[in-house]
């Protein structure tokens, strides 16, 4: 773990440059360029708002905000994983020619997606007053779940990126896992939609605590309870510890398999 912190610091400029490269390439040759990082979520929000306020009306007030408050962090999580899972394999040519710590690649994938997540919070913050939903002071609590989510995501990306070097099926399995996980997590539905006797199943879902933190602070204007905050960080650090331990164990052999 100390190695991870040391290397992240030592290679911070490289990780940042790789993350920026990722974003630059994503928006290269488009007229609006980087603006798309803001426009994309803005248009998605517009569509969702229209659909849920006119066509599909739920009992939940301001459903668009209810949904987006957790959909945006979820998108960060799933996008980071989808990018990072291939990150070692796609950079195989580089790994075979230059001695660089392999951890910079999954790291860069997470960093570039954090930037995207932060940018997508801007249109969300604009949508809140537009829908006349109260803008709660608990928005300022968001850095806490953001941190827990970033740590959790990083751990998962280390695991999947390493596994995919050995078996390319992993990137396909990941997509299945992500879509199942999406529906098993209260993103499109509220926590209490699950019958009380099945609630314990939800408690086993490691991402639920951090996801709940986002919804509470943006939609309900509440802070999560202390045990829930602790649980979100415990899950995050277990993920990072397990993911990075596996990654570190195998990283010197990546060069033979990419």
């Amino acid at each position: 773990m100390t190695q991870l912190i040391r290397d992240s610091y030592r290679y911070r400029e490289l990780i940042w440059a790789l993350a920026i490269k990722e974003l630059k390439i994503r928006y290269k040759r488009s007229v609006l360029g980087f603006m798309w990082a803001l426009l994309n979520p803005a248009f998605m929000m517009l569509v969702l708002t229209l659909v849920f306020s006119t066509i599909m009306r739920f009992a939940i007030q301001h459903y668009a905000i209810f949904l987006l408050s957790v959909l945006l962090p979820w998108t960060f999580f799933s996008q980071s994983l989808s990018y990072a899972v291939e990150s070692i394999v796609t950079n195989g040519d580089l790994i075979k020619k230059v001695a660089i710590p392999k951890m910079v690649f999954p790291m860069a994938a997470v960093v570039s997606n954090i930037i995207n997540l932060l940018l997508s919070l801007i249109p969300l913050a604009l949508l809140v007053p537009l829908l006349r939903h109260p803008f709660y002071w608990t928005w300022f609590y968001l850095p806490v779940p953001l941190l827990a989510l970033a740590i959790f995501t990083l751990g998962m990306t280390f695991f999947f990126a390493a596994a995919n070097v050995y078996y390319r099926d992993v990137s396909h399995i990941l997509q299945v896992v992500l879509s199942a996980w999406f529906y098993l997590t209260p993103i499109i539905y509220p926590l209490d939609a699950i019958p009380a006797r099945y609630q314990w199943i939800l408690k086993l879902n490691p991402i639920i605590y951090v996801i709940n933190g986002f919804r509470l602070s943006v939609y309900y204007g509440q802070l999560p309870k202390a045990p829930s905050i602790v649980a979100s960080f415990v899950c995050a650090f277990i993920s990072l510890f397990v993911g990075f331990s596996i990654f570190r164990k195998y990283q010197n052999n990546f060069v033979f398999y990419v």
């Binding site: 400029e13 490289l14 390319r168």
Partner: protein, 254 residues
């Protein structure tokens, strides 16, 4: 006294590769392999129990036939491979030019690639900003420096990559058969730069098939064959031995 310590020290280095005949790339293949229970690989040693020291300021040529283990050796020194056995010590910053422009991304501009490539080699952003102008001058790509490198001619691409490696001013320069490219003017410029690099007391390791380059630029040559060091000594000795290796009778005998 640091100056008398070798810059590069290899002791009993062996690099083993597992050559997998039919690698199970998918889970289905993996299962069918498991059930058939047949071993489908063999181990192969690209470098066998190699030891040598390179003192500060020496220019060493590594020669040998194709597949003799030269590039593997360079990659071990550059830290790309961790050797299966033995130890490698490198004292000083090392700029590996295993393949020109390995870290380049075709959508990024020349300027952006200079920075990225430098960071990949372990330099800081500040180092690269200080050297940027020298690199651009040496590469001599003109206005193309702000165009994506995919629009470069292969000569421009290569010049920029070489310029980045040499202008970052490493203590050890590792070159793998890359000087064969480029027009005569640029080659002359590269060799001139290598000469200056040597004169400033820095260490060079180069793999090449050009005996003229070894004769002119190397104090010492190491001949490798089948992963073993055959000759480690003066350039002319190693070259003479290499020529006998290449004679048809010897080739046929192998």
């Amino acid at each position: 006294m640091p100056s008398t310590d070798p810059v590069i020290r290899l002791s009993n280095v062996t690099q083993r590769f597992r050559v997998i005949h039919e690698r199970p790339d998918t889970v289905r293949e993996l299962f069918s392999k498991l059930f058939r229970n047949r071993s489908s690989y063999h181990d192969f040693e690209a470098v066998k129990n190699v030891s040598f020291d390179v003192p500060h300021g020496q220019a060493v040529g590594i020669i040998g036939r194709n597949g003799s283990g030269k590039s593997t050796l360079l990659k071990i020194i550059a830290g790309v491979y961790r050797p299966s056995k033995g130890t490698v010590t490198v004292n000083g910053t090392l700029a590996p030019l295993i393949e020109l422009g390995a870290g380049f991304h075709h959508e990024l501009t020349g300027r952006e690639n200079i920075l990225l490539n430098g960071l990949l080699m372990g330099y800081s952003k500040r180092d690269m900003m200080e050297r940027q102008q020298d690199i651009i001058d040496f590469a001599d790509v003109g206005e193309f420096i702000d165009a994506p490198v995919k629009q470069y001619s292969s000569g421009m691409y290569m010049r920029l990559a070489f310029a980045v490696a040499i202008e970052v001013d490493p203590q050890i320069l590792v070159l793998d058969e890359i000087l064969a490219v480029g027009d005569m003017g640029f080659q002359a410029k590269c060799f001139e730069r290598i000469r200056r690099f040597r004169e400033s007391g820095k260490t060079i390791l180069l793999v090449t098939h050009s005996m003229a380059v070894v004769e002119e630029h190397c104090d010492r040559a190491i001949l490798i064959d089948h992963g073993n060091i055959i000759v480690d000594g003066r350039a002319d000795e190693a070259i003479a031995m290499y020529r006998t290796l290449l004679t048809p009778e010897v080739v046929a005998a192998h």
